[in-house]
């Protein structure tokens, strides 16, 4: 018996009300017709999704810039520019990232002070090894008598 046509019965399309309900659930906070009229609401909803996707990526950049700003302020308190802090920690093989460093600078000031010291010392040593000159005001572990 030929059953193929019977099997090609299409599933009914989703109920119109439910389809619109989904969109209005996403757009209930929007302005005016973007909230009430389906044709306009769909487009705003999709626009919002696009912006959200873009924003998720930009948020990471923004937050990282915020950490760097805060670390600049925190390291200046200890008399150390931010670049010296970061390069010095890198030379000392300390791999604590900026997010945690910011948190330590705010909530664990003693620890951050010691981290700044480490960075200052290793930065000075790096400079000295690169240039052969002992930097002023820093007593490093490698002392040269010239």
């Amino acid at each position: 018996m030929f059953l193929t046509l019977a099997r090609y019965v299409r599933t009914p399309p989703p109920d119109r009300w439910w389809k619109r309900r989904y969109v209005f659930n996403n757009t209930w906070r929007f302005w005016g017709r973007h909230r009430n009229c389906y044709k306009i609401a769909i487009q705003s909803m999709q626009h919002a999704w696009r912006q959200a996707k873009k924003g998720r990526r930009e948020k990471k950049r923004f937050v990282r810039g915020l950490w760097i700003e805060r670390l600049k302020a925190a390291s200046e308190e200890h008399g150390l520019p931010y670049e010296h802090l970061v390069v010095g920690l890198d030379m000392a093989q300390v791999q604590i990232d900026r997010k945690v460093l910011t948190h330590l600078a705010i909530y664990e000031p003693k620890t951050f002070k010691s981290i700044a010291e480490i960075a200052r010392i290793s930065y000075g040593e790096g400079l000295m090894a690169a240039t052969g000159k002992q930097p002023e005001g820093v007593f490093t572990r490698i002392v040269r008598w010239e």
Binding site: W49, K53, R56, M91, A92, S114, G126, L127
Partner: protein, 220 residues
């Protein structure tokens, strides 16, 4: 007085940590670009010649604690120099103090910086940590967190290069729950081209409760 003691302690901590680096150092973004800034004001246009002389001088001194191998103005970061074991004896007084602190019963609340799933967290005991990754352990199981970058208390800090060894710290956590986060809509669209795609993404998450952070006085 306290401030100077802290700085001396931190100086010592730089020495007293062992150099058993288990994993390859992770590259810090941005630091590479900043390296030339480190040599600002020092380099001349004929810097090549000067550098050779300075590296020769470095290799000559036998008591060089940090044996950097300079290929350029930067440091060879991927082969970090081994610490001389004799260098630790230079600051025995500070070592003693740090050991005392760690062994004493009223160590107080310790905090640690731990790396899990590619991200770093600063944790104390009884902390809840949300990790955006599916862990192999089931809820209720106890886990030991191994990548510890820093451990600190009220009066001392141990900073790892880049991580502390397993003998020095022990952090235990329990898996509390594992779930899928609420779905996030990823919508791709190009105008006037008929290109649109939609995807619902729900990230698997795990919540850990940090049970204990222990510090052992077993320093190398």
């Amino acid at each position: 007085m306290v401030a100077s003691m802290r700085s001396r302690i931190c100086w010592a901590t730089k020495f007293l940590l062992d150099s058993s680096v288990i994993m390859k150092p992770r590259e810090l973004s941005g630091a590479r670009n900043l390296l030339p800034a480190a040599a600002v004001g020092s380099q001349s246009h004929t810097c090549c010649h000067r550098l050779h002389t300075s590296t020769c001088r470095l290799q000559d001194t036998p008591e060089n604690l940090l044996k950097y191998r300079y290929k350029s103005l930067g440091i060879d970061r991927w082969n970090p120099p081994d610490l001389d074991p004799t260098s630790i004896e230079e600051h025995p007084a500070v070592l003693e103090k740090v050991k005392e602190e760690m062994v004493s019963p009223d160590v107080g609340r310790l905090f640690a910086v731990v790396q899990v799933a590619g991200k770093q967290f600063k944790v104390t005991t009884e902390d809840l940590v949300l990790i955006q990754q599916e862990m192999f352990a089931d809820p209720g199981e106890r886990i030991r967190l191994e990548k510890v970058l820093l451990v600190g208390g009220n009066n001392f800090t141990l900073i790892g290069k880049p991580i502390l060894s397993r003998d020095q710290v022990r952090i235990e956590a329990t898996v509390i729950e594992k779930f899928m986060a609420l779905p996030v809509v990823v919508y791709k669209f190009k105008k006037r081209k008929g290109y649109r795609k939609r995807r619902d993404h729900s990230q698997p998450c795990t919540v850990l409760r940090i049970n204990s952070i222990e510090v052992a006085p077993n320093l190398n």
